[in-house]
């Protein structure tokens, strides 16, 4: 009886197991579906796909026997171990040192706005009317050696009348007739020493030391006697800026 009971229980267990085993011939799918704790296998899958679409694409791509193998992101064929090792090695080499990688829209904006450039040179180029004549006197700097710069004669006013004239090469001018001249010859007439009264300051002092300290050398004056009371003074100056208020007339000296 005992042996019979054992045999019966053994048979039932084996039949149960065989019915629930997916691999056996006596597998009963209906019973497997209604079994509450049924598991097809105890093995943990290596790759878990996110959804059916991913599973389907992987099935198409790798086939049925490659589904449970971890695929390398670099290599398409994951089956070959040698290839996978090489791929991983090259991948390790290819990995750049970590640094910030910004999208194009995160980079600083490149401004296309043009800066406003207006200065005295643009004014001189755009001068119209009488000042246009002065523009022709100023040659571009690049042609400074090739063509000679035309000299201009500027008539300078005195307190109550015309005082003298200045001849030089014109470097720049502005709308107030301020003139920048170079290699200047200044000529004017004035009263002789004894006939010109000097009543601005007291007794003069010798300030040659102070002038030397300043580094200023007074320009040399050439005096020509005109008549009993008047002399003509001429002096050469390297470069001067004439204030526009004193300009009476600007004329071009014809080229010889």
């Amino acid at each position: 009886m005992e042996s019979r009971d054992r045999k019966t229980s053994n048979e039932d267990d084996s039949s149960e197991i065989s019915e629930l085993d997916v691999g056996s011939d006596r597998f009963n799918p209906l019973r497997a579906l209604y079994e509450p704790n049924f598991r097809v296998t105890d093995a943990v899958p290596k790759v878990i796909y996110q959804n059916l679409a991913a599973f389907e694409s992987a099935l198409k791509k790798f086939g049925i026997w490659q589904l449970n193998k971890r695929q390398k992101p670099g290599s398409a064929e994951g089956g070959d171990q040698g290839t996978s090792k090489k791929a991983s090695t090259s991948e390790a080499v290819d990995i750049l040192p970590p640094e910030r990688r910004f999208e194009p829209h995160q980079m600083p904006t490149t401004s296309s706005r043009k800066k406003h450039h207006r200065n005295i040179f643009t004014y001189m180029e755009a001068a119209v009317g009488p000042l246009e004549l002065l523009t022709k006197c100023i040659s571009p700097a690049s042609h400074n050696e090739s063509n000679e710069r035309r000299r201009v004669r500027v008539v300078i006013r005195k307190h109550g009348s015309v005082g003298g004239s200045v001849e030089g090469e014109l470097l720049a001018f502005d709308k107030q007739w301020n003139l920048l001249l170079r290699n200047v010859t200044e000529t004017w007439k004035r009263r002789k020493y004894n006939y010109g009264e000097q009543n601005i300051c007291d007794t003069p002092v010798d300030c040659t030391g102070r002038l030397k300290e300043l580094g200023i050398t007074l320009p040399r004056t050439v005096v020509k006697n005109l008549n009993r009371k008047n002399v003509e003074i001429r002096r050469e100056l390297p470069q001067i800026l004439i204030r526009g208020e004193n300009v009476v007339l600007v004329s071009l000296i014809p080229t010889k």
């Binding site: 200065n119 720049a172 003069p204």
Partner: protein, 141 residues
């Protein structure tokens, strides 16, 4: 640098009124409108050509010299300004217009030292990069 009004800024930037401003600190000889001259160092100059000279020598019509510690030349007294011959007037004017006469020189940041803000920003940047690389290593293992 003194305070310039808007009109003075325009005049200095667009006309030859920039020369007294450019010549600040230089020794110049200025001819005045009554045939006298004054030589000195331009201490202050505004945008209207008014100059204040220091260490000045006033030269009257007959050539007599008179020392002055300070001499103010109003703009309408000026007949002409003798630009020092060691300056190339054209080159100086061109470079001044390119640089901007009134543009103050940018003070160089203290010899390579970083401010606290810069230092903190760089430290946090390095920490972020280390964190990223650490996460990558964790993913690989």
């Amino acid at each position: 640098m003194q305070q310039f009004s808007a009109r003075e800024k325009y005049l200095v930037s667009n006309t030859l009124n920039c020369w007294p401003v450019m010549l600040q600190g230089h020794s110049v000889l200025i001819d005045l409108h009554n045939e006298t001259s004054v030589a000195g160092i331009i201490d202050v100059a505004d945008g209207h050509m008014t100059c204040e000279l220091t260490h000045a020598v006033f030269i009257d019509r007959n050539g007599g010299q008179h020392p002055f510690d300070h001499f103010m030349v109003r703009n309408r007294m000026i007949r002409q300004i003798h630009i020092p011959s060691y300056l190339d007037a054209e080159q100086e004017l061109r470079s001044a217009m390119e640089r901007g006469v009134l543009r103050r020189k940018r003070v160089e940041t203290k010899g390579g030292k970083r401010t606290f803000k810069q230092k903190r920003a760089e430290v946090r940047h390095k920490e972020t990069l280390q964190m990223i690389s650490q996460q990558k290593k964790n993913k690989e293992t």
